[in-house]
Amino acid sequence: MVNVGLIGAGKMGISHLAILGAHPDVNVVGVCDTSKMVIEAMEKYSPFPCFTDYKKMLSQAKPDAVVVAVPTRFHASMVAELLQLGIHVFVEKPFCLKPEEGVELIRMAKEKKLVNQVGYHNKFVGTFTEVKKLLEAGAIGEIYHFMGQAYGPVVVKAKGDTWRSNPEEGGGCLMDYASHVIDLVNYLVSPVQSVQASMLKSVFSRNVDDAVFAMMQLQNGVSGLLSVNWSDDTFRKMTTSVTINGKKGKIVSDANELKVYFKDAACPAGYSRGWNVKYVTDLTPSVDYYLRGEEYSAQMDHFIKAVEGKVPNLLNSFESAAQTDNAISLIRKAQP
């Protein structure tokens, strides 16, 4: 059994908590949030020990691992404190507000040999893992272009301000939405090395970007585009997709459907020349407990297994998330 604590019971935190609560190898030893309303509801209706001060939770509940789902600006200091105490950490995305903050956390986690993971759940989506497999096998030949996109209906009219509308606190479409796409491109193709041009547009928000467009070059020399807009209410929920052009074929994938085109008959087993369509239903292993998508349970299970030493701590490490932070910073700097 792994003793796990949770700091931050907002939208993602509560979802993680439910997944942890249902996990057979997890003992939830503490839940912490500064919202009195949330903690009182938890105290009354859930079996978990509740705290409003995370330091108190750490000293009293003594977790082996902690899930951090607080606003991004608190990540760096809180994660450092946890690592200092020898606690394994799962932290929500994006990792840190500034890339330099991540460098120190990576060093600490390595030095103390602690499991570290960041919540970029797309790497656990069946279609995207299949894309990764195809690319690693060189199935579409030399890659020369990519397009990463995400659209959804988060800010669809002018509204009051929250921490998400403050760029200093990690708000905005670039940090919150585009980070997913950047991280996916980093993982599938190659980490972003430079950003040639970018536009951050406010559609409805006053202080933050609601849409992000960028031209980027990756470490392996491939270039491509990023197009993300969270003010698009023609989408029912967040929809993330990647298109990757290779000299021998093309991949178009979102979280539901994978379409692969092969120019000739030399292609991997299970595929043939021309268009191939596969669905997430065929590509996703089922989970023991489902909430909002298999990927959320799968990523938490991966973290717990890594803490138990059953799987290597490779996917979504601080290191890979820091590369995403770095790309976010490059996109900001490349604005006209």
């Binding site: 907002g10 939208k11 439910a18 009354k44 998400r164 919150d176 929920k237 539901n256 089922s286 909430l291």
Partner: protein, 291 residues
């Protein structure tokens, strides 16, 4: 419950396998008349129960149903609440407290915070009741014998161990709406354990049940075993596993399982509605000839 229930995913661009199809559906069902026409096709196929989420547009459909009492005399709606994306998108933007402020009717919430006095924990269930009432408003005057909790909420409460809230939902819809509570879930065996342990006998549970094992958490074998050995009123949904199984194979599998009271499916065209209904009747004739 009737053997066949008609679902609404196709009307609201919910497609589990293709975003393109989802957009095509959104275009196809832009006008409420297109939804009504499809419901009429379902009625012609002998399906008189519409199981639908509490999406804003359902209010318009309810309006049409109320305006033609003769035509819809035998028509029933099973509301499924809440329409979660409405709340989920609001939570991303406004936070949990902000969302409750926005959606709890009246100034109930404001009064709780009056003078900075902490409110009593028992009020959380009152908030839930107010949210249920808000979602049920659109169904006034319509026959709603079963009211469902959507899977995202059922499963969230299940994971959080909030058994009492599930029970409170069960009791409230019975008391206030003289309806039975239903629970949609992606974790059927786990949910049944919890409901039974809370003293809810023979609950109505709607879950993914399909030959591909898609979204059957804990595994297909455990689901089959649960159907065979436990007492509850099962509704099978996602029987086509998002298209992973052919319709004939899919319906043959589900009709061959024991203890499934109803089958839920949605379809956009008259042909698909008729074909699926015929397949169910056909395989019921094979597996349940006496019923």
């Amino acid at each position: 419950m009737e053997r066949i229930l008609f679902g609404d995913n196709q009307f609201f661009a919910v497609n589990h396998i293709s975003d393109e199809k989802s957009m095509a559906q959104s275009i196809r069902f832009k006008e409420d008349a297109a939804i009504i026409r499809t419901l009429d096709y379902a009625m012609e196929a002998g399906i008189n129960t519409f199981m639908c989420t509490t999406h804003d547009r359902i209010a318009n459909i309810c309006e049409v149903i109320r305006s033609q009492p003769d035509k819809y005399r035998d028509f029933k709606i099973y509301p499924c609440m809440p329409y979660a994306h409405k709340y989920a998108n609001a939570v991303t933007e406004l936070g949990i407290t902000g969302t409750i402020k926005q959606y709890v009717p009246g100034n109930f919430f404001g009064s709780l915070f009056k003078g900075g006095v902490a409110f009593l924990s028992k009020d959380f269930l009152s908030i839930m009741e107010l949210l249920i009432d808000a979602e049920m408003k659109m169904f006034k005057g319509i026959n709603t014998p079963v009211i469902f909790l959507q899977n995202v909420i059922t499963d969230l409460l299940l994971g959080l161990g909030m058994k009492d809230v599930l029970v409170a939902f069960h009791h409230y819809v019975q008391k206030k709406y003289n309806a039975e509570a239903g629970f949609i879930t992606m974790n059927m065996p786990k949910l049944l354990d919890v409901l039974e342990s809370a003293g809810i006998q023979n609950p109505i549970i709607c879950s993914s049940i399909n030959k591909a094992g898609f979204r059957m958490s804990g595994g297909k074998e455990l689901y089959e075993e649960t159907l065979r050995t436990r007492q509850f009123r099962a509704i099978a949904m996602q029987v086509l596993a998002g298209g992973a199984v052919s319709p004939r194979e899919a319906i043959e599998y589900v009709c061959g399982l024991p203890n499934i009271e109803s089958i839920l499916f949605g379809a956009s065209s008259k042909t698909n509605i008729n074909d699926t209904a015929s397949l169910i009747h056909h395989y019921d004739g094979v597996f349940r000839p006496t019923i």
